[in-house]
């Protein structure tokens, strides 16, 4: 008796024993398909070139990001953003952006409405899509010079001290208040002689604009000139610097605020967050992630920093010098016992006070001089000594994260020994450090991504194993390191706890992690895995034989070429990776549907990708300097890849002669928009004949158009005839543009109709204009040089045509053995079962264990779907796809075998299907084992 088996579409199962360990319907090949519905295969949608080309021919998009629903494109050292309506043109940001290192893509995170980017020069920020790229973080206040102004009576009573700090800040486009690090504390003393006010001279750091404000904080009066005022500051003054201030890098303020008018407390006050919570700028990081409203920075380095203490001034002379160099721009500061001239690099060193006072005064002069010296463009200095510290503590820091390492030397040993550590005469032994620590994580304050105190950090695992990626889920931040996976829980207010999560799973493709369904999908040394709070689960076992080889040493570009993203709407994880050892970019995508638990592949070569806010996939093309956009109109037109424009030179029946067949292939669809048609033209003639106001009634009989190629001449004749027909107007012909383009002819027809409708002699005033367009579409069946044969005959315009590249999909089922691969059977016939199909040609091939070559059966059906099968005319085409089966015999040479391997192929653009599977009818055989 005949029996049947049904093979559904279960996705790739290439690794297990395909004669016993795979489910029915397992696939050994699944190219260019998705399995989004359980057991149903459908062709992938296409990717069309998006917007304009960029850079030069060799440029490729390195990363795509989304901010404020607009696409960001990174190539070379350029970041650009899409137009508000999409489809470009893209606008380049004025500031160039480079990735942190070659092969590592720029990472972006949005928080508080801002977009933060990793880059080779540190964390960058966008606060609006068409704004400027800025460095993230506030400005660190520099030195502050305070001076008692006894000329004005004021709050500063006699016999008092007061301390000051300066704070810079600004509000960004999203109304986030970005406060920097307060300045050093400077104390002013009013020893007697009456009340006074205080003059403050504030050094303005780089990066400050007129949008910034500065705030002056002041302590309470100490009550006695010998009593330190402490460090509990409150706001006494706020203003914006002028352009002149910024140019002079200095602003002078006179503090006259009465004691009772002191306002808000400084955030670093001990009773607030404390000085250790000063808002430092985010460190340089290779990855960033938002977790519990804090921005995390991983695999970091800081600015170059050096702590230096002045121990005494005894051995300093007027010829003593300090030289600071980053290797490129050295500058030298000279000590002088008489005066300070900061802008020319002259430091005042004090010798007249107590040793402590001398050190304090000299150290402050060193700081001011470094900050204000015009030849210094590399570092800033900060005075750290507070009320409870020994004087002379200086902190040197490079101005930017991307700056070079700097070192200090001095003129003599005596000078050098006045400092701790000792400043050498030559060499770079006293150099700054930028703490390149691969296992370090910094985190920002709660909901303040640009405020990263120096103490908000922790090291994760072994220092020898760097952090590869940090990825946040709802409850956990996962840290992927070279020695395993760690997890972080907690929040910035209550502290974070880091712990080892899995030391047996190592991320091997740093750009592969993607978040979907509150899980992380990533390419690990155990395979492609799902990581969640509950553990690591490898999901690539069915295709392990595909996955494992490409991770071997021979595939040298694997880790940099591989990238992944998650398509939430369709529950797909796309992993683009290499195919061959020599591949420098990803040449295929492994697509895993997390709901149907099925793998398929896309043999396409891309450099980067993401899912945009419009729920479309965007990809960086690997072969051209374009990016691509997923077609997603939910129509048959989604099933084609790129489109190209060329000119139609001539045509005869279904053979077209076109200018260029580059990128054109059999199966592609040729299309052309139709603006004006014989029907549109002739209906006007017929209406004229019936119009009692028009003398002639032979318009249709004399001017009727059969083909579009006649329209221009007949339109001219119509206009001339109207001019001569005794109507009100005689400008019918002269009003036309006489263009021969389809749009031009349509425009001319509408001009004539427009005049007709206002002509008082003519009775009718509703002659129809041509407004709607239709599209001719047909499939290319052969190409010979520039002669293209298409499936359907159309009346084409000799004008530009567009061709749309097909997507070739292929499904090969694992061997079908009907439960027993050891006995011979006769597989008689098969039914391809479609939930719906709108396709005219599909191929089904078979091979068996007896005959390994494929033998193909081509189905040519009369599909009802969705295009191209109706005669061309005025009505839009269309139709719906329908469920149906395609039945065929198994080719005779393949019928008798132990197992059968069916292969389904589809190679035409603008067609789609929902393939449920195929049934095989067979009879178990006993004696007849071959043909």
């Amino acid at each position: 008796m005949s029996q049947s088996i049904i093979l559904k579409c279960k996705g790739l199962h290439t690794n297990p024993n395909n004669l016993g360990s795979v489910p029915d319907g397992s696939l050994s090949e699944a190219e260019n398909i998705y399995i989004d519905r359980p057991d149903i295969a459908q062709p992938r949608t296409g990717f069309a070139l998006y917007a304009e080309e960029f850079g030069n021919n060799t440029d490729r998009s390195k990363q795509l990001l989304v901010y404020q629903e607009r696409l960001l494109r990174h190539y070379g050292g350029t970041l650009s953003y899409d137009s508000p309506t999409g489809q470009g043109p893209f606008t380049n940001y004025a500031t160039g952006v480079s990735e942190v290192e070659t092969g590592t893509k720029i990472k972006g995170q949005e928080l508080n409405g801002n977009f933060y980017l990793t880059s080779s020069s540190g964390i960058l920020k966008l606060d609006k899509i068409d704004g400027e790229i800025k460095y993230a973080g506030g400005v660190k206040a520099l030195d502050l010079e305070v001076e008692l102004n006894t000329g004005i009576s004021g709050f500063m009573e006699s016999d008092n001290q007061a301390g000051y700090r300066i704070l810079w800040g600004y509000k960004d486009e999203n109304n986030n208040l970005i406060l920097g690090t307060p300045s050093e504390r400077s104390v002013v003393t009013n020893g007697g002689g009456g009340s006074a006010v205080v003059n403050l001279t504030i050094t303005i750091p780089n990066g400050v604009t007129t949008d910034y404000f500065y705030q002056v904080y002041r302590t309470r009066l100490s009550g006695a000139s010998g009593v330190d005022p402490g460090d509990e500051m409150a706001l006494v003054y706020e203003a914006n610097p002028t352009s002149g201030n910024i140019t002079s890098k200095e602003v002078t303020v006179t503090d006259i605020t009465p004691e009772s008018f002191r306002g808000a407390e400084l955030y670093t006050n001990a009773n607030q967050q404390g000085i250790l919570q000063s808002n430092e700028v985010p460190p340089f990081a290779k990855d960033i992630a938002v977790y519990n409203s804090s921005l995390f920075f991983a695999n970091t380095k800081t600015k170059f920093r050096l702590n230096l203490s002045l121990l005494s001034t005894n051995d300093l002379t007027n010829s003593s010098t300090l030289t600071i160099t980053d290797g490129n721009a050295p500058f030298t500061l000279t000590f002088n016992n008489a005066t300070e001239n900061a802008t020319s690099g002259q430091i005042f060193y004090a010798t007249s006070g107590t040793p402590s006072q001398n050190v304090d005064e000299t150290a402050r002069s060193i700081v001011r001089t470094i900050n204000r010296y015009t030849n210094n463009n590399t570092i800033y200095a900060y005075y750290l000594s507070g009320p409870d510290d020994v004087p002379g503590q200086i902190f040197l820091e490079s101005r930017t994260l991307g700056a070079l390492e700097f070192s200090i030397t001095c003129d003599t040993t005596a000078t050098g020994e006045e400092f701790s550590p000792v400043v050498p005469i030559t060499g770079t032994t006293l150099n700054a450090d930028n703490e390149i620590i691969g296992n370090r994580v910094y985190y920002s304050k709660f909901q303040q991504p640009e405020a990263v105190p120096l103490v908000n950090t922790f090291d994760v695992g072994s220092r020898n194993s760097v952090i590869l990626r940090i990825v946040a889920l709802r409850d956990t931040l996962f840290i992927f390191k070279e020695d395993g996976i760690y997890q972080v829980i907690g929040d910035a207010n209550n502290g974070f706890q880091v712990s080892l999560f899995d030391n047996s799973t190592i991320l091997i493709a740093p750009e592969s992690p993607a978040v979907g369904d509150n899980q992380i999908w990533a390419f690990t040394d155990r395979g492609i895995a799902k990581i969640s709070d509950t553990g690591v689960e490898v999901r690539s076992n069915p295709i392990e034989n595909i996955v494992e080889p490409i991770t071997s040493a021979g595939y040298t570009n694997f880790s940099t070429a591989t990238f992944g993203f998650y398509y939430t709407v369709n529950n797909r994880y796309y992993l683009f990776t290499v195919t061959n050892p020599t591949d420098t970019v990803a040449t295929k995508a492994l697509v895993y549907n997390t709901h149907t638990d099925s793998w398929t592949t896309l043999p396409i070569s891309k450099t980067c990708g993401l899912v945009g806010d419009d729920d479309r996939v965007y990809l960086g093309a690997a072969d051209v300097n374009y990016i691509e956009q997923e077609r997603k109109t939910f129509t048959y037109r989604d099933y084609a890849d790129r489109s190209y424009l060329t000119n139609l030179g001539e045509f005869e029946e279904n053979t077209l002669t076109i200018n260029s067949v580059a990128n054109l292939a059999v199966g592609d669809v040729v299309a052309q928009s139709v603006y004006i048609t014989p029907y549109k033209f002739n209906r006007i003639l017929a209406k004229l004949d019936e119009d009692a106001g028009v003398v002639s009634s032979n318009y249709l009989s004399t001017l009727q158009v059969d083909r579009k190629s006649q329209i221009r001449a007949k339109l001219d004749a119509l206009a001339n005839k109207l001019d001569a027909d005794g109507l009100s107007f005689t400008n019918y012909y002269s009003s036309m543009s006489l263009s021969s383009t389809p749009t031009g002819m349509e425009s001319d027809l509408n001009i004539v109709v427009g005049i007709l409708n206002t002509d008082t002699v003519v009775n009718e005033s509703d002659y129809p204009t041509s407004t709607s367009t239709s599209i001719l579409e047909t499939v290319v069946t052969s190409i010979l040089e520039n002669k293209v044969t298409v499936e359907l005959n159309f009346d084409w315009d000799l004008a530009p045509i567009t061709y749309h590249n097909k997507i070739s999909s292929k499904i090969v089922w694992s061997p079908a053995h009907a439960g027993d691969p050891s006995i011979f059977k006769q597989f008689r016939e098969t039914n391809l079962l479609f939930s719906s199909i709108a396709s005219n040609v599909i191929d089904l091939s078979f091979r068996s264990d007896i005959q390994r070559g494929y033998e193909k059966v081509m189905f040519q059906s009369e599909s009802t779907g969705a295009w191209g099968k109706l005669p061309w005319g005025e009505e839009p085409w269309g139709g719906t796809s329908e469920p149906r089966g395609f039945r065929t015999y198994i080719p005779g040479q393949k019928q008798r075998c132990r197992f059968l391997e069916p292969k389904f192929e589809h190679n035409r653009a603008y067609e789609n299907y929902l393939l449920v599977g195929l049934s095989l009818t067979f009879t178990a055989m006993i004696e007849r084992i071959g043909r």
Binding site: M1, S2, V857, S861, R887
Partner: protein
């Protein structure tokens, strides 16, 4: 509605009977035609001959040459056998007598011209006893049906030039594409397109062809008088209409359908199809037997002892019988 009986109709009928998928490569058109030709040869023709109603009978006269005693049975004779053999001499037909080869020595040497009426078979030849140069041998045999081929190989005659240049005439075919298998010096058959699907003339040598005008030139004398527009011209031995009575074509289709089902291992449907075929075979004889029901054939024992007077002294079996 006109009746059409080409292989296109036959194949369509076969495919419907066993539901051959529209798209398949297991059975090509040539495969199905091969099955059909085999079935005609092995099943249809024997059944038709069994009713002995003179289907396929055809005569061929061969002039007896002096000293030549062996004459080949026409190659188109079914089974290389003869329906009958006559000698024609002086306008008179003499039935021939087949001898057992063992009896030949007893008949040789009589020197009587009447001995021409005796022959025996040797291989595929007839051998005359004491043959002379006078007269003709008339072979009466069952003409093999032509093999069915694809329609593109056969011409549909759209006009006939029976005048030509006085020697050469032509037929013009209406095929969209002129069949490339028609070439000068190839041989063709002129075939009846409508029932009874007879063969008007066969093995006619083409003198030349003109693919542009779609003309095929042959000797005027080779153009059958019965040939008319719509008939077929095919390469020798080929046709596109099954040369069986039209009423049997559905049975032919059913027979081939059974072959396909058998080849596919579709036992369930094969059983059903064979039941239908058996029913058809039972009815076969009602259709083709007794071709002249109103004038039933009279049984005349021409070889009986008493029959010589009834055939005017020409004793069947010759003077030795």
């Amino acid at each position: 509605m006109a009746f059409t009986y080409t292989v296109t109709d036959l194949i369509a009928s076969i495919k419907v009977r066993c539901l051959v998928p529209i798209s398949q490569i297991t059975f090509t058109t040539d495969d199905i035609l091969r099955f059909a030709n085999e079935e005609i040869e092995l099943k249809m023709v024997p059944n038709i001959l069994r009713v002995k109603e003179e289907f396929y009978v055809r005569n061929k006269s061969v002039t007896i040459e002096s000293g030549v005693t062996e004459y080949e049975i026409p190659y188109r004779a079914i089974g290389s056998k003869l329906r009958n053999l006559f000698f024609k001499s002086g306008g008179n037909m003499f039935p021939a007598t087949r001898l057992e080869p063992e009896l030949v020595p007893y008949y040789e040497g009589s020197g009587n011209g009447a001995n021409n009426t005796a022959f025996y078979l040797r291989g595929n030849d007839i051998v005359l006893i004491n043959g002379t140069s006078a007269g003709q041998v008339v072979f009466s045999y069952y003409l093999k049906p032509n093999k069915m081929v694809q329609t593109t190989r056969v011409g549909i005659i759209s006009s006939i030039d029976r005048v030509g240049d006085g020697t050469i005439g032509s037929v013009t075919v209406s095929n969209t594409t002129f069949p490339t298998n028609f070439t000068a010096d190839s041989e063709v058959d002129f075939l009846q397109a409508k029932p009874n699907f007879g063969t008007y003339n066969f093995d006619v040598a083409i003198t030349s062809v003109n693919p542009t005008t779609k003309q095929i030139f042959v000797l005027l004398s080779d153009i059958p008088t019965k040939l008319k527009v719509g008939d077929h011209i095919a390469n020798a031995g080929e046709c596109i209409t099954p040369q069986v009575p039209s009423e049997l074509q559905s049975m032919l289709a059913q027979t081939v359908a059974c072959r396909l089902l058998e080849a596919m291992g579709d036992k369930d449907n094969l059983i059903m199809a064979e039941k239908k075929l058996a029913e058809m075979e039972r009815n076969l004889f009602a259709v083709i037997d007794s071709r002249t029901e109103g004038t039933p054939q009279k049984i005349n024992n021409i070889r009986g002892l008493l029959s010589s007077s009834k055939i005017g002294g020409r004793r069947y079996g010759g003077n030795k019988s």
